[in-house]
Point group: C2
Chain length 257, copies 2
DNA sequence: AGGCGCTTGTGAAGTCGTGCACAAATCGCG
DNA sequence: CGCGATTTGTGCACGACTTCACAAGCGCCT
């Protein structure tokens, strides 16, 4: 166990340049832990056990401990984790010690909502610029920012050190926008348009597609409905609510031949 | 268009109400395949190979074939998949043969964008009702729907057979809204608020959190930046583009103590 | 000081998902 | 009618992730 963890007990709070290379699944959960930790900090907790934090983050405690162990040993056996220290560590690993500048392209329906979203600012990001291709939108002012024409992207991206771009244009324009973002030096893209983007090696893309989320839920609805005939095999007899949860499934399957 | 449900060549077009139970990872990809298929259909393709569809959906072809094989054998060796048939099958499995009614709670910044989003309608869903707790918003009309007070949820959910709910309220209200949705018979929830929801067994929750997506991207930015000193160790020597991708990484780490 | 209860960190086993590689199936063509 | 080109469906090995279970470490109490 004498793992020479980056930074950890080395006593030297100075330099910890090398990131441990975390499993992707762990990286995806760290932000959730971070949010939970901030909640705990605000409600006056100084320390928290893996059990407690796991509950707050909606995962099981073994997973949480293993995730955190990848960052190093920041817990105290018999006590738990120091909330403030853990926040610091996770923020460091996620690269949130600096406030990252983000460009938002496509100031339509969705873009407006995103531009006005406070959650960006409170969680480590700064919307540094808004872009659109529609001349009638250019110049419009939204939460303190003026919408710029997409042509100015390269210039502004360089000036503001923008490395993250958000695409909120129609799908038809998304690939073209992505190309322009990449050309402007952006190396991470969050894409809201329902399409696959092709980007060069070294550029990360994450996608958020509302309809996909709903369709996954739809599948589960479908599956639940096809199980209605079965008796309440409830593995856990103790579900509190589940009110009348019945009529909902009334007429589902029309599997009729 | 008689539903030739699963069991294609089994000859017995009798009853196959039971869904094959698909791996969760497969379920999550089916919507992506479906979108790609619709694109192909619109551009006049009648059939598509696993290779072609995989490219359109952004996955590798082996994965795609394995995913589809879970639904049954709907391809023709030497030819590929019949686009229309595959669309029909995937829509059946996802439970999209009926247009599912969705309730949207919280008609604020984000809620407005969602309410006006056409992608719902074109991909199997119908926003059946909008709810808010703010009296000044109740009565407002948005894309043909009147905003109702959250108190009317149970009544309307029953009347409209709503089984899916979308939460777009502040985090502080989300759990309470979730409880009300569940009490109204909703069994699937899409949550945009940054918090964990606790729901009874049998209710599915999916979460979309913008800030988490950005933080994951931030991690990768951080990691890329900590590698700048290394030469282009490119495991694959053949990256095509990678335009000027340079200055972007200029001043990164400010690993101050 | 020593023992006790609590909690972390982690080997190890189990589960799930991925990708390869190829036999089987089908079509088009000669 | 048979053959070769093509593409699916899948067995298998591998890797990633999850979960269990417990020894080691820590603080507190006596
Ligand atoms: N509205 C939603 O709730 C919602 C939800 C999920 C996904 N989406 C997706 O997000 C995207 C945007 O949705 P929306 O409802 O805001 O659409 P919208 O039409 O309201 O807005 C699109 C904006 O992009 C701009 N645009 C078009 N081409 C551009 C280009 N080449 N460069 C820069 N800007 C360009 C348009 O001028 C417009 O302002 C769509 O792909 C949609 O499918 C929207
Ligand atoms: N705006 C965005 O782009 C964005 C992006 C990602 C996530 N989110 C999240 O989505 C949620 C909504 O964001 P927003 O910007 O639209 O906030 P908002 O404040 O503009 O809107 C929230 C709406 O919910 C209503 N509401 C409050 N309590 C309610 C209750 N108990 N029942 C019913 N309605 C209630 C409010 O009246 C208001 O209309 C937040 O949790 C936010 O973190 C927003």
């Amino acid at each position: 166990m004498s793992q020479q963890r980056p930074g950890g007990q080395s006593g030297q709070p100075g330099a910890v340049p090398a990131l441990p290379d975390l499993p992707e699944a762990t990286v995806a959960r760290l932000p959730e832990y971070l949010r939970a930790l901030h909640n705990l900090a605000e409600t006056g907790h100084d320390t928290v056990s893996s059990e407690g934090l796991a509950a707050a983050a909606g995962v099981n405690s073994a997973k949480l401990r293993k995730d955190l162990s990848h960052l190093g040993s920041y817990g105290t056996r018999g006590v738990g984790y120091d909330v403030a220290l853990l926040i610091e560590q996770i923020e460091y690993v996620l690269g949130l010690t600096q406030r990252r500048a983000v460009a938002l392209v496509g100031v339509g329906n969705l873009g407006h909502a995103l531009a006005g979203y406070a959650g960006f600012a409170t969680r480590g990001f700064r919307i540094a610029a808004l872009f659109d291709a529609d001349p009638s939108r250019v110049g419009e002012q939204i939460s303190g920012l003026v919408v710029r024409h997409i042509e100015d992207l390269a210039e502004i991206a360089a000036a503001e050190s923008i490395a993250i771009g958000v695409i909120a244009t129609p799908a038809a324009a998304a690939q073209s926008v992505a190309d322009q973002l990449v050309a402007a030096g952006v190396t991470s893209i969050l894409n809201f348009a329902p399409c696959v983007l092709s980007v060069p090696e070294g550029v990360d893309v994450r996608k958020v597609d509302l309809a996909i989320e709903l369709q996954i839920l739809s599948f589960h609805e479908h599956r639940k409905a096809s199980l209605t005939s079965l008796p309440a095999t409830g593995p856990t007899g103790g579900l509190t609510a589940l009110p009348g949860g019945l009529s909902a499934t009334g007429t589902e399957e029309a599997v009729g031949t």
